[in-house]
């Protein structure tokens, strides 16, 4: 069920070594007197430098899977190994530090801290780690990020002074600023119009293609998923299919949409 649809053209291609592995993940929630099985045994592997999209309809379990992969939540059973560490075996503090140092998150609803300005929001992971982001290499990295997301001149704006697209770009910059091993993006374009959404996806793709950033993207939009090297189709708490798209510069979604149609999605 795999398909190589386009020849890789990237400068930074995924290497074979997995940076993220999930083994037989399940997740259940009690809901009143019944139990909801959000995930029913998911195993997957993401190689360093790879751009993977998790696709599926609402309620398919894709966001739950992302939360478990990113260590925001713990599985009912199974385990997640991120950068060589099994998250469920770590204490809350160590898991938090792993998240802080090795991952970045972008959420659908921007989720910036309204009290902090653009620079402070981007520098948040450093500040949380007790580092001073106003000096040396960190300051340079901040400047680099602001440039990457095209927010020069707006460094001291507060979130409520920015457009939605700009806010999401700040969120992307914050997720990338530590140079994380993995970037998790949960419907990052869900609240944006078409053009602004594309800007965000372009920025993500550039970071993957040019800097070797590993990305796991959750989306229900085939056009967004078409930026990925590989698409995992989630349904009913399981991975129903894997679609290999390969690294492509044009992000054409036609083939993917066709494949999804074959799957009835």
């Amino acid at each position: 069920m795999t398909a190589l649809l386009d020849a890789p053209t990237s400068a930074a291609e995924p290497t074979a070594a997995p940076i993220l592995q999930a083994r037989d993940l399940t997740k259940s929630y009690p809901l009143g007197e019944t139990t909801v099985h959000a995930l029913r045994g998911v195993s997957l592997s993401v190689a360093a430098g790879e751009f993977v999209a998790l696709m599926g309809p609402s309620g398919s379990g894709k966001s739950t899977l992302l939360h478990l992969l990113g260590g925001l939540d713990l599985p009912t059973s199974g385990e997640v190994e991120l950068a060589g560490e099994v998250i469920s075996r770590l204490s809350d503090d160590r898991a938090t530090r792993l998240r802080r140092d090795r991952t970045g998150f972008v959420f659908q609803s921007f989720n910036l801290i309204p009290l902090l300005d653009v620079t402070e929001n981007i520098a948040l992971p450093f500040t949380i780690a007790g580092q001073d982001p106003s000096r040396g290499e960190l300051a340079a990295r901040l400047g680099d990020m602001i440039e990457l997301v095209d927010l020069l001149g707006k460094e001291h704006h507060r979130p409520d002074q920015l457009s939605h697209g700009e806010q999401q770009r700040v969120a992307v910059a914050r997720a990338l600023v530590t140079g994380p091993a993995l970037l998790f993006a949960d419907e990052p374009t869900g609240n944006l119009d078409y053009t602004t959404g594309n800007e965000i996806l372009d920025a993500l793709w550039r970071s993957c293609h040019e800097r070797g950033q590993t990305i796991v993207l959750v989306t229900h939009d085939a056009k967004a998923a078409a930026y990925a090297d590989r698409v995992l189709v989630v349904g009913d708490g399981r991975i129903r299919d894997t679609i290999e798209l390969g690294r492509r510069a044009d992000h054409d979604a036609t083939v993917l949409i066709g494949r999804l149609a074959q799957l009835g999605l």
Binding site: D92, T96, R99, N111, I113, L115, P125
Partner: protein, 840 residues
Amino acid sequence: MRGLHALAWRGLRARTLRSVLTMSGVALGVAVLFAGIATDAGIEASVDRTVEGLVGRADLRVAAFGEAGLSPATVEAISATPGVAVAAPAFERRTYLGLDRFGPGDALPAPVTVVGIDPSAELRLHDLTLASGAHLTRLDEPSALVGATLARSDDLVLGSELTIQGPAAPTTVRVVGILAEDDPYAGPTGRAVVMPLTTAQAAFDASGFTRVDVGIAPGTAPSVVVEALEGSLLEEPYVLSSPRELGLAMRASTGDFAATTALIAAVALFAGAFLIFNTLSMTVVERVRELGLLRAAGATRSQVASFILVQAVVIGAVGSTIGIVSGIALATGMAAWIGTVGDVALPGPVVTPEGVLAAFAMGMAVTLAAALEPARQAGRIPPVEALKSRMDLPAARRARLRWLVAVFLLVGVFGLLIWPRAAGDAGLIRALAVYAALLVVALCVPFLLPFLTRVAGLPFIPVARLEERLARASVLRDRGRAAMTVSALTVGLAMIVALGGVGQHARAAAGAWIADVVPGDVLLTSIFPRTVDEGLDDILSELPGVASISPIASFDLAIDGVRVDGAAMVGSDLASDGRFHLVSGERSAALAAIDAGGSVIVPATVAERDGLAVGDELDGTTTNGSVVVLRIVGIAERTLPGDGGEAFVVGWPDAAQLGVAGADAYAVRFAPDADAAARETLADEARSLALDPVPLGRIQGVIGAALDRVFGLFDALALVAIVVAALGIVNTLTMNVFERVREIGVLRAAGMTRRQVWRSVVVEAGVTGGIGAICGIAAGLLIGALMVVLAGGRPDVAIGVPWLSVAVALVFGIGLAMLAAAYPARLAARVSIVRAVGYE
């Protein structure tokens, strides 16, 4: 409507902790208020009892000036005055019992009060209830009635013999009756010996009378008798008073206490109002969508507003009821702690229906006043709010200064209505000034907030940089709410610091006063006047280590027909001691002039009040009715304390003319090389001469301890206001956490540990507490100085910084605030990231 009310009730139950906190805030405020009311009622009752004990059924009391007392001619004139039905003369002296049993070096026993009465007249005005035995019958029998306490302490039974030590030979009387335990005639100490008038006078070798109680014939107006007495008593000075005046004088001594308690109650209620306002505002913000839905479904504005008001009524009623019950306990504790207020013994609180009603009404009024603004906000929520995915209600977020002023005024006006009458006008003006100053401080807080937040955050930067940054921003996010929270804390802390300042000044002023006006290190006091003939000066001055002995007498003085406190002192002793300061007049000349006679030194407080100046002449009335002209030779910064203020100081030649029989105290100055043995020798010798040696340090210590007790109580009450404010901090921070759930989730997702989240909330509380402490301390210092100045404090005693109170305010302000953050911080640390980031 019933459905809406049920919804309001469910709203309270849904947030049990918050409802309980708010009710506790109201309860604490009402408790302090009711404790004050019940204590004041207890003081009133105690004053009434004391006055009744003093004068019984007498309508008027004619009291003598000076030791010699009223002459028999005056007593006769009183009896003969038209309208006088009963004139009961009495003679009073203080002495020791059984001095012969005490050896040198023994501490003197507690003195007793000997009262000589005319049994037939006295019993028509006073009950003299007996526990056992029989009443006195004749004027000259060698019998006595004794107080129950004295009988117990001295093992006296019916038939026991008592030796009364007079100035000459001792007199022996037999106990024929013991007064009942609670008979007011035995006085507050219960150590009274009631003897027939003639026997008592003979024992003390006296012929005068201390006072005459007058019973007015039925149908005669007291004013008519007063006028007649004033017309007929021209021979010698006297003080004419009615039970009402005695009561007033006693109440005056409790005024400051009542005023301060009432003020602290107002502050506690004010802090409670902040708590209620914040809680109900929080309810509006949280339920904005629900309330919008109600509006969309057809509920009117007033129905939605009543949703909030019903909650307020429940909070107010439950809180006030609990407050009244706790107030009784608090007042009982206050009475036990304080013992006496001014001259009035405080046996316990008295619960009156009016007091309960006033406290309940105040609790309800403050709660409802605090609820009005949130209720108005709720009524103004547009139905469209219910349709929005995210809620933002600027109106609900902006706390309004005008609301603050309105509640402040309401508490003030209501306070005026139930203001304790004992506090008097001066107390009221002082309290109003302090109250207004607190309002000004509370109004200034929002404007100073950005600067103060930065300052208060400084101590946290080295240990929690990010947390400090977030806390600072969070405090400033909703300035109105932060200002409310801080203001409540500020007024409580300001009271602690202000009371600390006033207490410190009072101690310093009292200490300095005693040290300045007494020319010695030790005061030897006597309960009866010691004449020059006794030669005590010579005996004492020959003792080793004694550098100087200076006799002092305190007496009543009639100046231009008005009773004032008088003191006889030796001018040359004051001149050589060098601490008696004059603000007007030449010191050495003035002191020499009083020794020469015909001169007086007037205390500055009186000179200022009555417009007296050096060179003025005053008429002093002597005991035989003639007049001594006293020329003012100096105005003293302060003089010896008397019963009703500071004393007019005269020399001994004038004192003798004014009827002063002898010294009732000796100031002893030791030589610089005097050792402990010399002091001990003096003490032993003094006791053998029936003089009680009291080192000045001990007098200052006793005054200091009494002040400590009173101010300790005030501090404890003010602390209640701070606890209320701390409850407000719990509420505010909880509200902040609920509003910031998503933000906290993002921070956690970005790598903030639970501990860091916890810390950021605690730091926010610390910053809030720090701002409260800074404002509270600054305001407290200013208000303390204001209180001292308004109370006519000594300008020469610097109003220092009460460091202990400042430290307490700092520790309590910041510490209690951080402690209050424990619960909201735990809530914040437990926020689920997954839920938080999806939280709308």
